[in-house]
Symmetry: C2
C-alpha cells in the first residue's frame, strides 16, 4: 500500500475512484501545481484526482476529510490569483474531465459540468439561438466551473452583469462528501437561504461544484462597435462616465498607452500608438437602436476630446478590436513577467485610480499597463517585471501591494472578478475589516469545520 | 422598572434607544403583530422598537441577545408569507422610520434605508434619469428593506431579474448587535465570500438590514403594451413559452378566467370575461425596436389562437392594463379571505401546473384564481375561502398545501418571490431535502447561535 509522508494511504483513495482517475506520477502532477498566476509558493500535492463524475469528487472529499488532507479544486487552471495553487501534502481535484452539457431551450437553461470551457457553453447555447453572457477575456480556455467558483466577470458585465447573475442552481459536494442540489431552473426561487449565491465566488473554500444550472437569454443581435482614441486617460474615463449615465452599451473597455503599444507590437493592427487611451465600445441593441446608440456614444467621445472615432456595424471588424483588447495579457507577457491586478473603484474615481497607478509606477520604477472594464470601474493594472532581477522583483511586488492599497483608499475593491486566491489574501483583512472577516470565518468554519477545502485561498 | 413576564427588563431597552422608539401600548403594539398574510398564529410581542437609526437596531438586538428574547424585524408589513408575524414574548423591530435615500447618478447607485417604499426608490432614481427595476405588485406600499429581506420579484423580472441582482451592498446588524458593511457601490466585487447575496432573501433570520446600496440602470424608454385574450390558459401558456424563446419583453403576465372576472368586477375596464386567459406583455426596447417586439409578440399570440389582440404605445393606456393585473389581489380579496400561493415551475410545465391547480380546486370545492408572472414560470394561485365557514377553511388549507405539493412534484418551488415566512415553512423540508436543510441550519446556527433572529421564519 502506497503511503504518503503524511500517513494518508493513497491506495484507499484509488480504490474508491473510477479507474485511472488517480494520478501520482510526479511529471503529471507537476502540471497541476499552478494556475496562470504562477504562484511561486505553490506546493507539491500527493496526488491529483482527475474526476470523471460527482462520485469521484465525493470519494476524494471523503478521503481528504478522513485523513485531514487539504484538497484544492481546479478547473482549467486559468485562474489569475493563485486560487488553485497546489498545497504541499494535499490533493488536487481536477474537474477538467467532467464536460457534459444539456441545453433546455424552452426553460432557457444550460445544465453543465464544471470542466467545460466558457466558450463551449456559449456555443451550445448559440445552437439554440440562446446566449450565455459572461465573457472573461480568457473565455476560450477558462472553465465554467472556475467561472462560478470565482464569480467571473468579463467585458459584457457593464450591460449583462456577472456570473452570479446567471447561476440559477448547482450541485456541490460539501466538506463531508455529501452532494447537494441548490436552486434549479427557475428564474425566481426564494425557498430557503440564498445558498446558491453563497457558493458562487467561494473559490472552492466551501465545496466543490460538480454541476451548474445556468440562465440563458435570447441571442441579442450582432454588436456594432465604436473605437475612439483619446489624448489622455482622464479624458477617456470622463467620456465613459458620461456614456454610462444614459446609455447601455454591451461593452465599454479602455486601454492605456502602454497597453495600446504592447498590443500593437503583438497584432500590428494599426492602433494609434500616440493615444493616451483607446476606448472600445459595443452596442447590441435591437434593430436601428444599435446604430443610434453607437452614434450617441461617438458624440460623447467627441465632446470629451476624442481625436479619432471609428464606428462599424461589421461584427467581424468589431470583434477584431475586442480581440485586440483581450490580447493585452499575452501581449504584455512578452515584455516580461506579470503581476496581475484586478482592482475596482466606484466609476467616478477611475481617473484618480489610474493617476495613482502612474505615480506608483514612476516611484517604483516599474512598468504598469492598465486595461479596464471601464464601464464597471474594474481595472487590470499589469505590473511588468524581470523575474531574473531580484531588485526588480522586489519593486514589482511593492507596487503590486501599493496598487491594492490605493484602490482600498478610494473605497474600491482589491479584486473585481479574478478572486482573492492566495496572491491577494494578505490584503483581504484590510478590505473586509475585522468584523466581516470574523463573519466570513464563521461561515467557512460552519461549512468546512476541518478546514480541508482549498486552505489558504481567500483566508489565511 | 417594567419587567415583562419573561423577566426581561424593558426599561433597560428603553434607556438604550432614542426617545420614543419603544412602544408598549397594547393598541399600538397590536398593529405590528401581522403582515398581509394575516397569520392566525401571530403572537403578542412585549414591545415594538420603531428604530430611527442603526444604533437603535443594534441596541434592540443586543438587548434581545442578552435576554434571549426573539426579535422579529419588520418593514412595511406587506409580506405575504407571515415572515413578520410577531412572536409571543418577543420584540418587533420596525424599520418604517428609517427612510433616508441618497442617489449617486454617476456611480448609478442609490444608498437607501430600509423603511423607504419601493416606489420612493424608483421615484428618486427617476429624478436622475435612472431606473430601479424590481417591481413587486405592492411596490407602492412595500418597503425596500422587506424587498431585500425576501429577495422580492415583480413583473419586470422576466427581463430585469430580481432584487438580489440589484443589491450591491448593505449595512446589516448581526445577531450580536455588530453592524457590518458588506459589498458596496461596485458592479464587480469578488473580494471575499458573497455575503451580501446570502443576506438577501434571508427573511431577517441572519441579521437586520439597516441600509442598502442598490444598482440603478439608465431609464429605459416608455413601454409599449400588448394585451391578448386566449380561449384557454393552455394556449396562452404555450404562447408565452414561444415568446420568451426569442424575445425579451419587459413584462409577460397572465390572468386566468377567475382573475379576469374578479378584476373586471373591480375595475369595469371592459376585459373579456369569457376569455380563458388574458396576457399583458410590454416591451421597453429602444427606438423602433419596441414596436417591432410588440408586433412579434402579437404574431406569436395570434399563432397560438389569441381571439383578441390589442397593442398600444401609449404608456398611460398600457399602465392601465398592468394596473389591472396588479389589482388581482385586492379584487379577489373582495370575494373572500385569501390564501396566497407563490409557486413556480420551469416554464414549460406552466400549463401542467395550472391544470393541476384546477383539479385541486374542483376536488376541494374552493375557488382558486391564478395570476402569473408567466415569463418566469412564477404563479400566484389565490385560494378564496370564507373564514366564517369552518369546513371551507379546512378545505382551503388542504388545497393550499396541495398546490405546493403539486409544484414540488413538477420540480418547482414553493415560493418564487414572497418568501417562506411562517406559512410555507412546513413545506420547505420537502423542497430542500434533508441535506440542504441541514446545510441551511448550519449557516443559521453559525450566524445566529442563540436563535433570536426571527425564529420560526423559514426554519422551524
Amino acid at each position: 500500500m502506497a503511503v504518503d509522508p503524511s500517513g494518508a494511504p493513497l491506495d484507499g483513495l484509488a480504490a474508491t475512484l473510477r479507474e485511472g482517475a488517480l494520478v501520482t506520477d510526479r511529471d503529471l502532477v507537476a502540471g497541476y501545481r499552478h494556475d496562470w498566476a504562477r504562484d511561486p509558493d505553490a506546493g507539491w500535492p500527493l496526488a491529483v484526482v482527475r474526476a470523471t463524475c460527482t462520485a469521484d469528487v465525493q470519494a476524494a472529499v471523503r478521503w481528504a476529510a478522513e485523513h485531514r488532507v487539504p484538497l484544492v479544486p481546479r478547473g482549467a487552471g486559468s485562474g489569475l490569483s493563485g486560487g488553485s495553487s497546489a498545497v504541499d501534502g494535499g490533493i488536487v481535484v481536477s474537474l477538467e474531465r467532467m464536460r457534459d452539457i444539456r441545453v433546455d431551450p424552452v426553460s432557457k437553461v444550460a445544465v453543465v459540468q464544471p470542466g467545460l470551457f466558457n466558450i463551449e457553453v456559449k456555443r451550445a447555447a448559440a445552437e439554440h439561438g440562446l446566449f450565455y453572457p459572461p465573457d472573461p477575456s480568457s473565455y476560450e480556455i477558462c472553465s465554467i466551473g472556475g467561472n462560478a467558483a470565482t464569480n467571473a466577470g468579463g467585458l459584457c458585465c457593464v450591460k449583462y452583469g456577472v456570473t452570479s447573475d446567471y447561476v440559477l442552481g448547482m450541485e456541490v459536494v460539501l466538506a463531508d462528501g455529501t452532494a447537494v442540489r441548490l436552486g434549479g431552473p427557475r428564474i425566481k426561487d426564494v425557498a430557503g437561504l440564498s445558498l446558491t449565491k453563497l457558493f458562487v465566488g467561494s473559490e472552492g473554500t466551501l465545496g466543490v461544484i460538480t454541476e451548474l444550472t445556468l440562465r440563458l437569454v435570447p441571442m441579442p443581435p450582432p454588436a456594432s462597435t465604436l473605437v475612439a482614441a483619446f489624448p489622455t486617460f482622464d479624458a477617456s474615463a470622463a467620456a465613459v462616465v458620461a456614456m454610462t449615465r444614459t446609455l447601455r452599451p454591451s461593452m465599454l473597455e479602455l486601454m492605456d498607452r502602454t497597453s495600446i503599444n504592447a498590443v500593437e507590437d503583438f497584432t500590428s493592427m494599426g492602433l494609434d500608438r500616440a493615444a493616451g487611451a483607446l476606448l472600445v465600445a459595443q452596442s447590441d441593441a435591437p434593430g436601428h437602436a444599435a446604430g443610434e446608440e453607437i452614434a450617441a456614444l461617438a458624440k460623447i467621445a467627441e465632446e470629451h476630446g476624442a481625436t479619432e472615432v471609428f464606428a462599424t456595424d461589421d461584427p467581424a471588424e468589431g470583434e477584431a478590436f475586442a480581440a485586440a483588447r483581450r490580447a493585452a495579457f499575452p501581449a504584455l507577457e512578452r515584455l516580461g513577467n506579470l503581476l496581475l491586478e484586478d482592482v475596482g473603484v466606484p466609476l467616478p474615481l477611475l481617473p484618480e485610480l489610474v493617476r495613482g497607478i502612474e505615480a506608483i509606477a514612476a516611484e517604483r520604477e516599474v512598468t504598469i499597463a492598465v486595461v479596464a472594464h471601464a464601464g464597471d470601474g474594474n481595472t487590470h493594472p499589469l505590473v511588468v517585471y524581470d523575474a531574473g532581477d531580484e531588485a526588480a522583483v522586489a519593486r514589482a511586488q511593492l507596487a503590486f501591494g501599493e496598487v491594492m492599497d490605493l484602490a482600498l483608499s478610494l473605497g474600491g475593491t482589491i479584486t473585481g472578478e479574478h478572486g482573492v486566491g492566495r496572491l491577494k489574501r494578505a490584503w483581504l483583512p484590510s478590505y473586509l475589516g475585522e468584523d466581516v472577516l470574523a463573519l466570513t470565518r464563521r461561515v467557512k468554519d460552519a461549512l468546512d469545520p476541518l478546514g480541508i477545502l482549498n486552505p489558504g485561498a481567500i483566508l489565511e
